[in-house]
Every structure is written in C-alpha cells, then in structure tokens.
C-alpha cells in the first residue's frame, strides 16, 4: 500500500510543484527526493506492516512479500532512472513536472498490479499504468515520430484493454466473482472448464501478452519504443514491463487452476518461443541501437515469461533478479543513449577512449543483458530457465531455444562493445549532445557494480522473500 498511496500522492505533488516552481532543476530535485522517500517507504514495508492500514481494501489489494519486494525493485530502478536521466527528462519539453508526475502515476499503477486481488484492480492498474505512458510517448509534440508512436500505442493499448475487459467479464459471467481467490476456488470444482471461463482466460492471456509485448502481440513495441522520447522508452521498457510481467504471473497463478494443465504450458511455450525468436532475430538486423533495444526488450520479456510458464518459486525468485538487473542495465544504457548525438551503432565508436568509465559501465550492462555470467542478467536467465526445467522438463526444445537465443543476442549486444572499444571514431562530432557531468560515469559505475553484485550474490535480494 505504501507504494500505491505514496506514489499517487507524489504524482499530485509533482503536478503542483510544476505550477509553483519554475526552475526545472529544482523540479528534478523534488522528484528525486520524492522517489528516494518512496523507495525507502517501500523498503520499510518489506519487514513490517504498511503505514496505511486499510482493512477494507483487503478484498481488492492484497500485498504479498513478493509483491513488496518487486515494489522495492521498481522504486530502486526508478530512483536510478531519475538520477541518471533527470537531465534528459528536462530536455524533452517544457512540462517537466508533469512528466515526473506521470511517472509517479505509472508507479502507482505498477503498485496496484503488484498486489491486485480483484480483477477490477487489475484493470485499473493496467490503465493507470498505460494511460500516462500514452502521454509520455507523445511528449515531443512537434516530433512526428513521437506523435505517431503515441497514437499507435494508444490505439493498440486501448484495444488490448477492450480485449482484457471482455475476458474479465466472461470470467465473471462464468464464476460470479472478480476475486482471484474465489475464482480459483470455484474453478477447482468446475471440470470440465466452463466455456465462457476458458474464452475469458484466453482473452486475458492475449491481452496480457499484449501488455508485456510478447509475440505475436508485440508489433506495437518496436515502433512505440523507437518513436517515444528516448528517456521515456527507457522507463517503458523496464519498470512498466517488469510490473506487467508480475501482474501476468499474479493473474494466472493459483487462480486459474483448471487451466494449469499441459494445455496451458503448450500455449505459453508457443508464446515464449515466438517472443524469443521474433525479438532476437529482428534485433540482429537493426542499425539503430534504440530500435535494437526495443526488439531485445521483446526477447527479454520472453525470458521473463518463463515464470508464467512455470509458476514456481524459482520463477518468482528469477523475476526479482531478472527484473532488477534487466531494469538497471536497460536504464543505464538508455541514460547514455538519450544523451548521444547518433543512436546508431556507429555513434558508439571510440566511446571507450573518451569516456572509459561510461564505456566500462555500458559493457557491464550489455553483458548483463546478454546474460553473461557474473552479471545479474545471467542469474536472471538462469533462474528463469531453471524454473521452466523444474516445472516441466519435457520441454527441452524450449530451453534449448531460449539458450540459443541468448547466444544470438550476444551478437547484437556485443556490437555495442565492439563499437565502443574496437572501432575508432571517424567524425569529429562529439559523442554526446550535451556535456555529461563528472558524476554521471560514477553513477553509472555504481549501477554496474550493483548489477555485478546481484550477479555474484543474489542472496541480498532473495533473502527478503523468505523471512
């Protein structure tokens, strides 16, 4: 509850600070202070009770330790995001405070998605999460690409919401309740599965796949990620995606018992396979790093979906590690990318010579995304695939595919490393559009160190799951 309430209030505070504070820097500081407070608040909630005790809300929102931990991860990632990309947010447009406010609202939506107990809350959470994103995507009002991306995102997002609602209603029609636990209990006795319920579940699956941009429902993702202002792409591809995946797990875990048969795993395995293949293979052919990351984020979603495939403790642990390392790495790369002149691979040429610190951090991020050991990304992928293997080891083809896709991903991720370290800079144009501050590389290295820390000792995260 801390996450939801405080982030919503922070959003309001940011909105109003935009009215009274004219200096963008100050606004950024306020936002950073708020997010730090927010992440502390979520951390405090980990061990203890929430600050806001609302027993009536139990039927709607029920926070588990797991949800709290993911909340902490999201807020920490956002904190780093604000710190690293604050200056870039200021460059997007005039309404800086509003951008921050919208991001806080997104976090509130994420908080709801982490703890929803009722399908109504799922719907609300998804909408609170996505509607601000439509605006953020179109934040550059004069930029046609941004406009277009935002329109596409909006149409597709609203469409998938419609699908989701239909699914919810059909389930309600069959089960007579929106409460996940009630549905789950009723579903146990309802064999064979009710037709409307099945249809509803399928629609929900499709719409959730849409939200996490799993193939074949991914087609909006590259365009939207590409068109959106780079800073916001970073936010969308990380925090939002992790929250959506967790919601995905929460929705189908436990409450959809009759569906947990082999049929479910067939469906999800196809989903995962498509996602991995589409994401990785298309990413190979991209010239723009931003677009490459967009496609790669599709494939990363594919790995996270293993948790939905498996529904076991491994999957959940994996999501925490995967979520944090993936978010941090992507935020880090994007924070550099959004400062750069040229966002093709050539733009990275010779970066290591001029900015060794940044290049080192970027290397760690890229290694983490590619899933090389010693980074959090490796353990994340490892956990996800182990989760799949532990739940049903007869899907060997899927695990082999997943790991081979990781190998393919090395190809395109390493192009960044190659450009940074092994290629010389040809043009005289500076790497960055704006001069980077002295603190920036240090912050990046801190983030990189965090990723390595998770990669070496994930217990620091996982211990919170088992009190």
């Amino acid at each position: 509850m801390n996450l939801i309430i405080i982030s919503a209030l922070s959003g309001v505070v940011m909105m109003f600070s935009g009215l009274f504070v004219k200096n963008n820097r100050t606004i950024s500081y306020i936002a950073t202070a708020l997010i730090i407070f927010l992440s502390l608040a979520t951390m405090c909630e980990l061990g203890a009770k929430s600050w806001f005790n609302i027993p009536q809300a139990e039927a709607m929102l029920r926070t588990s330790v797991y949800g709290k931990l993911i909340g902490v991860i999201l807020t920490i990632a956002t904190t780093f995001y604000f710190v690293l990309s604050g200056k870039d947010i200021e460059r997007v447009g005039k309404h800086v405070a509003d951008y921050y406010a919208l991001m806080f609202f997104v976090l509130a939506g994420a908080g709801i998605l982490l703890s929803f107990q009722n399908l109504l809350m799922l719907f609300l959470g998804v909408e609170i999460l996505t509607i601000p994103l439509f605006i953020l995507t179109g934040a550059q009002k004069q930029n046609l690409k941004s406009n277009e991306a935002s329109l596409k995102y909006f149409l597709m997002g609203a469409f998938s919401t419609g699908i989701m609602l239909m699914g919810i209603v059909l389930i309600y029609g069959a089960m007579g309740s929106f409460d996940l636990s009630v549905i789950g209990k009723k579903a146990q006795f309802a064999t064979p599965i009710h037709g409307a319920n099945l249809m509803g579940l399928l629609l929900l699956l499709a719409s959730m796949a849409f939200k996490v941009s799993a193939a074949p429902f991914h087609f909006w993702t590259p365009d939207v990620y590409d068109g959106a202002p780079t800073v916001f792409t970073s936010f969308m591809a990380t925090i939002v995606k992790v929250a959506a995946v967790v919601a995905f797990i929460r929705l189908f875990e436990g409450s959809m018992e009759p569906f947990h048969t082999s049929k479910w795993q067939i469906l999800v395995s196809i989903l995962i396979a498509c996602t991995l293949l589409v994401g990785n293979i298309t990413a190979v052919f991209q010239q723009s790093v931003k677009r490459m990351l967009a496609y790669s984020s599709i494939s990363q979603a594919g790995y996270m979906l293993f948790a939905v495939f498996a529904f076991n403790a491994f999957g959940k642990e994996g999501i925490t590690i995967y979520g944090l390392s993936y978010s941090l790495a992507t935020i880090g790369i994007f924070s550099v990318l959004s400062k750069m002149q040229d966002i093709t691979f050539d733009g990275f040429n010779g970066l290591a010579r001029q900015y060794p610190g940044i290049a080192f951090a970027l290397t760690v991020f890229v290694l983490s995304l590619a899933g090389i050991p010693l980074t959090g990304g490796f353990l994340g992928k490892f956990y996800m695939i182990s989760a799949g293997a532990a739940s049903n080891s007869s899907y060997t083809w899927l695990f082999i595919l997943a790991i081979l896709c990781a190998a393919v991903s090395v190809y395109y991720y390493f192009r960044i490393i190659q450009a940074m370290y092994f290629k010389e800079r040809v043009s005289d144009t500076p790497v960055f559009e704006v001069p980077v501050s002295k603190a920036f590389p240090i912050l990046l290295i801190v983030v990189a160190a965090l990723i390595i820390l998770i990669g070496i000792n994930p217990q620091i995260l996982l211990q919170y799951l088992y009190f």
Partner: protein, 474 residues
C-alpha cells in the same frame, strides 16, 4: 582459505591494475600478484592429496543450492601450477611490450588468470560455469582491442564459438540440475544424477561440445588458428598455453565422473576425431609460412593427442595427458615468447622472409632449439614423458590408432625443425634483419622454461606426486 586466495589475489590485482591508470604500475602489480599466487600455490601443493585443507566451501545462493566450493585435486594441482607458473613468465617475457592503455591490458590479463584459477578449482557446477565465462570475457577484450588487423571479426568468431559451446553446456547444467537428488550444484550431486543411457549420451554431447570447442578438437577447431594469429602474442600465450587446458581439465573433472558410461561409449568417436585432427593439423602446419599459424596448428595436434589419450580411459593415457597438460603449456609459451620477440624485432612473421637469426642472436637460438626439441618430444625433455605415456595408453586402447597417432611425432619433427631451420639458419634476409640478441627479460623467461623442460624431463617424479595415484579414480 588458501584456495580462495588463489582466485582473489589475481582478481583484486586485476581491478587495482585497471584502476591504477598507469601501465607501469599495472605491470608491477601484475608481476607481484602472479608471483604471490605462485607462492601461495607452492605452499598449498605441499599438502598431500585428499586433505581437508584442499577443499573450501561456503553457502552462496541458498535457494539454488549453489555453494562457493573449491577443491584442489591431482589434475587441478597440475593445472593451477601451470597457470601460476606461466603468468609470471608471461609477464616477464612481455615486460617491454608497450601496449596502448597498458593498465587495461595487464588488468584484463590478471582477470583472465583469476578466471582460469577458478575453473581449475571450482567444485560446484554453477561456480565452474561462472569462472568458465569469467576466463573468456577478458580474453575476448584482450584479443579485440590489442589484436591484429582482423581482430574484431576473429575474436568475435572466437567468442561466439566458445559462447555457443558454453551455452550448450548451460542447457546441460540446467537440465541436469533439475535431476539432481538434492537440487544442488555440487560436484557430488551431479555425479549422483541417475540417467538412462540415452539421456547420458545426450547430455554428454552437450557438455563435450563445449569442452571440445575450447580444446579444440577437429571439426570445431576453426576459430583457433585465426584467434592465435590475430591476438597479441602475449594473449596467445594464455590462450594456447593455459586456456585450451580448460577443456581437457573439464573433461577429467566433470565429464568423466558425470557420464562414465557415455564417455566410454563415445570414446571411439572422440579418439577418431582427435586423431584425424592430429594428422590434419600436422599436415597443415607443414604447409604454413606464418610462424604463428604454424605453432597454432601444432598446438591442435598436441591437444588432439591429449584428448585421445584421455578418452582411452586407462591410467597410462590419463597420467600422460595430465603431465602433458603442464609440459605442453610451458613449452608452447616458450615458443610464443620467441615468436613474439621475432615479431617485435623484425615486424615479420613469415618464415620465407626470415632467416639467419642465429647469427645475431645466439642465446635465443640455443633456447629456441631446446624448445623445439621439447615440441617434438625428444627424450630428456619433459614432453617426452607425457607423450610416451599417452602413446602407451592409446596403444593399449587400439594399436591402429596409436600407429596413426605416432605419425604426428614424425610430422611434428618435420614442421618444428623446418621452423627452426628456416628462421634461425640460412642467409639473413635483408628485409627482416634482427638488431641484436634478445634482451634480458626474454632470456630470463625462456631460461626458466628451459630449466623446467629439462628438469622435469629428467626427473618427473614431483609432477607424478602431484597427480597422486589415480588408479581407478575415473
């Protein structure tokens, strides 16, 4: 605790070296750290095999059942000794090689050393995989940044090859992990996995391909000559001297115990492939004009024999292969040192453009000839012991294979002596004239190697002691 030091010293030294921002400091740090590691290791080696002190374990990722557990056994002792001995020698030999961004170069070398040490020590599958990759990544950077003209493509090829290999291994690890009785990554639980014969075959290949790429064994070797050629020679020393031994070591440590039946069943195929590789590589080596490529192919040939000997699964072959791991490691490092010196002095690597170096550099020539003898495994050199045992082993397994494999000795003599002759004797070529004899650091490094060659060639007992009696160990 000493085992942890073996990994931690180079690791920290590597980070310090990179952070120092100065090539000179980094070099000194590197040398000191590698010597310190050697010192610690020598201390450890005095402990008899199987002692409690040779193991270390600490809970790492509890929920996965992964431990930070290290173990030093017989082959591990040889391998770690090779690593610990080689690095100081490499540092000394490359002392004068000025590298751009030197601190990064030396730092990455130390990181690679840490990774190698980890691979040889790890007693936990996940940990092993971690170090396996940790050794790879610094090497990739070393090759790509400081390599030759085609370095980017070549080192990427190298990386993709080995990465695909390790990824296959990862698949195997994950699925085997699911089958372990106590959901743990420890060596012990992996060896206790109950597998049907068919499953064993499947997983065997998953692991074996990874190791075979690293060694490399015949059809998977194509990355190797390119990588050796394009890498800076200092890195090539690590690659060919130590890193290829990772594959052999992994076969001994992991493959055999986990898949005993499958490895016996597949031995025929592996040995055939290895011996084809041996002959093939030797023949190609003869045709080479580039010194680096020549030595690269010769390395493939040697490794092939070691792999074949390992898979015979008899004591003789096994002991020979383990001894040869050490011998071949230091021998080939010696050869690379010479090549490195020649290349730096003349800027040429083609034998057709070289010649008559003996006139200007007599000391170097003498040392090189000893190395060349060792490379063709003449008696009294350390390589002879290993080769003799290995051929014995192969002979016991299959006479035919042994006969074919023995051809490699003859072929080896042809190309090695050809190399010596074309490079050091004959008329000096005006294009590639050498100025003077080798400098002190090269001489020192080579002398150390030569001393070891002869010492172990005459008195190999310490090495055998290290391995311990391994009858029936596998």
């Amino acid at each position: 605790m000493f085992l942890v030091l073996l990994i931690v010293i180079p690791l920290i030294a590597g980070i310090v070296a990179i952070a120092s921002q100065s090539a000179a400091i980094a070099k000194i740090v590197g040398l000191v750290a590698s010597l310190a590691t050697l010192g610690v290791l020598l201390n450890v080696l005095c402990i008899p095999n199987g002692s409690e002190a040779l193991a270390y374990s600490k809970l790492w990722i509890g929920s996965l059942g992964a431990n930070f557990s290290l173990l030093l056994d017989g082959p591990g002792k040889i391998a770690t000794l090779l690593t610990a001995v080689s690095f100081p020698i490499i540092f000394i030999a490359s002392w004068n090689n000025g590298y751009k961004y030197g601190h990064q170069f030396w730092g990455l070398m130390l990181l690679a050393m840490a990774g190698l040490m980890g691979v040889f020590l790890a007693n936990d599958m996940l940990l092993f995989y971690f170090f396996w990759e940790l050794a790879l990544i610094p090497t990739y950077f070393l090759c790509s940044i400081w390599g030759g003209e085609k370095r980017i493509q070549v080192s990427f090829k190298f990386f993709i090859y080995t990465f695909v290999g390790s990824v296959l291994m990862l698949i195997g690890i994950i699925s085997l992990y699911g089958k372990t009785p106590d959901a743990s990554f420890s060596w012990k639980s992996f060896t206790q996995v109950a597998l049907t014969a068919k499953e064993q075959l499947f997983y065997f290949w998953l692991f074996f391909v990874a190791f075979a790429i690293k060694m490399p064994i015949f059809p998977l070797h194509t990355w190797q000559p390119d990588a050796y050629e394009q890498s800076p020679t200092t890195v090539t020393m690590v690659l060919s001297g130590i890193m290829v031994k990772m594959g052999l070591f992994a076969v001994i440590r992991w493959l055999f115990p986990i898949f005993p039946e499958a490895s016996s069943q597949m031995a025929g195929i592996v040995i055939t492939l290895s011996i084809i590789g041996v002959i093939y590589a030797s023949l190609i080596a003869i045709r080479q004009d580039d010194i680096k490529r020549l030595i690269a192919y010769s390395s493939i040939a040697h490794i092939g024999i070691m792999a074949a000997a390992l898979f015979t699964k008899n004591n003789m072959g096994y002991e020979g292969a383990v001894i040869q791991m050490f011998s071949h490691g230091i021998n080939i490092i010696g050869l690379w040192i010479v090549v490195d010196y020649i290349e730096h002095q003349t800027g040429v690597r083609k034998m057709s453009e070289l010649g008559g170096l003996a006139q200007k550099a007599p000391n170097l020539t003498i040392l090189f000839i000893v190395l060349a003898f060792a490379n063709v495994s003449l008696p009294l050199t350390n390589a002879f012991i290993g080769e003799f045992l290995m051929f014995n082993g192969i002979f016991q397994y299959s006479v035919c294979a042994a006969v074919v494999a023995c051809l490699s000795i003859i072929l080896g003599a042809v190309y090695t002596l050809g190399l010596a002759q074309k490079t050091f004797y004959g008329e000096p070529k005006s294009l590639a004239a050498i100025k003077s004899d080798a400098p002190l650091n090269v001489i020192v490094a080579l002398s150390l190697i030569v001393v070891m060659i002869i010492a172990f060639g005459v008195y190999p007992k310490p090495l055998f002691n290290l391995i311990g009696l391994v009858t029936g160990a596998n």
